[in-house]
Amino acid sequence: MIQKHETPMRQQDPKVRIGNFGEVPLGYAEEEAVREAERCLQCPNAPCVEGCPVRIDVPLFIKHIKNRCFAEAIATIKEENSLPAVCGRVCPQENQCQGVCTLGERFEPVAIGKLERFCADWEAEHGCISTEIQTDTGYRIAIIGAGPAGLTAAGELRKLGHDVTIFELLHVAGGVLMYGIPEFRLPKEIVKREISALERTGIKIKVNKVIGQIYTVDDFLVRDYDAVFIGTGAGLPRFLGIPGENLNGVYSANEFLTRTNLMRAFRFPEYDTPIKVGRRTITVGGGNVAMDSARTALRLGAKESIIVYRRSEQELPARREEVEHAKEEGIEFRLLTNPTRIISENGYLKEMECIRMKLGEPDESGRRRPIPTPDSEFTIEMDTVVVAIGNNPHPLVPRTTKGLDLNRWGNIVADSKTGQTSKEGVFAGGDIVTGAATVIEAMGAGKRAAVAIDRYLKTKR
């Protein structure tokens, strides 16, 4: 008899967890993992592998878990994925491997993500599985940006024996994994652990290097690199463009999360960077970043945390699990609502004027277009606002690289299979190409580019 439901993972109680930054799901014990692994049907056609942007051999690693060969399980994952502890936590598996799981046609799909996380945590506890590195090729590759795309490309290229250096503009590597995704969803210690594992393979990471300012891509190519991969992400926050948006107390999600996650403002004054959150915070937006911001606000002491989103619940782009977590924690959703003005009094935020929206015909994105209802303005009192409506491509590298084709939004134009840009020897992948997407999609792009770069180097001369 197959167990119909996935084996639940223990979680921190919502009432407790809103008072701390600790991780919410607590992980599987060995017994739980084995029990969940037993649910896998070991389908010969393995749709889950197709569903995985980095094509992990899912049935094989699950089989190893079932047989209690945990070291083999993690080794299998790591053949295809350099950041399993991260992916096991933040991938939208429901749209990927689990979305196409055969078991899911009748019951709940196998909890592939939770099993992946289990393997990575097991490795952290039981010592590291070393990665096999091919003999040195003598080729040197510069990777710009130490986020998911860059780290993955680096990991894959290093496995193939290339000499890889990553240049990162912040003071730590990890990109959005460090500054964006909160501690309670992805503990920073775990990110650091995965990055040190990469460094142990011989990848060099140079932090504090703002490419475009200190060197250009052209400098790299003429100096001493044989190829360049650009993975600089979508780092430039978008704003609403409404009156009052520059008032004190209005944060971009990037600023709000960077202060908290990267600069550890939740431990001010022990850490030097402050953050200010009042009684009631409004987060504008409906994606994962909006959920992260609203939940962070609670943990920083807001008594009420509200999400304002212009479409309906169905269109929320955030992962279902994140929306559920947010609701459990008491986040209030004001849907079909769009801000029109931010109002302050004596230098403090006072209220947000909003307008009610209706859903019209589907737009280019396939989602129904929100239309304002005339004369339906109303106000919500608040004292902090977080704008989480997405990011634009980071302009520093595109702006300073000659001969690099960009699209009209400023994204780098690159082949979706190879990452090849309009410039010889220059490849790109991740959000800088696609616009804001998921961690794993960026990793998939990094991986495909690594294969293409390897091919390019070997056929070059």
């Binding site: 912040l170 504090n208 926050p237 948006e245 520059n246 107390g249 971009s252 200010k276």
Partner: protein, 282 residues
């Protein structure tokens, strides 16, 4: 880690540091800045580059000890020691060309970023008139350097303890009212000083560049915390600036935004000072 090659106290509250950062020194241009972080728990502090020497790899910065981090730097970070992070050059360089006659106005710590601009303008063939000022004598530095860099120099203090008593905008207005033609003005200092200077030059329709020191975190365009309004449009001071057209800047907004964390800054400073006096007792 980035080594402090030398440290020189310019006044009771102001220190000049030369930090070893060869890549930054090679790439730096006039008007750009760096961000430094002292230690693992430190904040990211933006500071304008005063000089960059590609030969020694030294980057000169001037720090005024106003808050916890800058006090800590003054108290505990000496020549031979290192700061944890030092990133740059950031921002868009100054537009240096031969304008004709340029007045360079520097107030307080603003004299530090102004000095290399004055030098570059002079080198580009301009006649450079310097106006520098501070609240009081103790806060005034680089007088000798500015004297060398400018064809003419006016020194002002609020209390008259050195130079003339008054504000930097006073000689600015006098010169602009005289029959000497002025083609451009650079004004760098506290927001209020830049605001007043921009108001004066607006009357005379002289193009004016200001350098905005809004609160920053990353300094690379990622957070938007540094945003300012220029010509009613939001701009990021770190990547679109730091220099902007002074006649277009919303200085009141800049000043309000600079004040946002005063309570937190005071709390951090008090806590630091207490920890220091305890240290002394022990």
């Amino acid at each position: 880690m980035y080594k402090i090659l030398s440290k020189r106290r310019l006044s009771a509250q102001i220190c000049e540091y030369v930090v070893e950062a060869p890549e930054v020194a090679r790439a730096a241009k006039v008007g750009q800045f760096i961000v430094l972080r002292l230690h693992e728990k430190g904040e990211r502090i933006p500071l304008t580059i005063v000089e960059a020497d590609p030969v020694t790899g030294g980057v000169t910065i001037v720090v005024q000890e106003v808050g916890k981090s800058t006090r800590e730097m003054g108290d505990h970070f000496h020549a031979g020691e290192s700061v944890l992070d030092f990133v740059g050059p950031l921002g868009v360089p100054s537009e240096i060309e031969n304008y004709g006659t340029v007045i360079c106005v520097g107030g307080g710590l603003g004299i530090a970023p102004l000095y290399p601009i004055a030098c570059a303008l002079r080198e580009a063939g301009n006649t450079v008139i310097g106006i520098i000022g501070a609240r009081t004598r103790d806060l005034l530095f680089y007088m000798d350097r500015m004297e060398d860099a400018c064809d003419e120099i006016h020194v002002m203090t609020d209390d008259g303890s050195i130079g003339r008593k008054g504000f930097t905008s006073d000689p600015l207005r006098e010169i602009l009212s005289s029959d000497r033609p002025t083609d451009r003005v650079w004004a760098i200092g506290p927001a209020i000083m830049m605001k007043v200077c921009a108001e004066v030059t607006r009357e005379f329709a002289v193009p004016t560049t200001v350098s905005l020191n809004s609160i920053m975190i990353d300094g690379t365009g990622m957070c938007g915390g540094c945003r300012v309004e220029v010509g009613r449009e939001a701009k990021f001071a770190c990547v679109d600036g730091p220099e902007f057209d002074g006649h277009e800047v919303n200085f009141d907004l800049l000043m309000a935004r600079q004040q946002f964390y005063v309570e937190e800054e005071r709390c951090a400073l008090d806590r630091y000072l207490k920890s220091q006096s305890k240290g002394v007792e022990q």
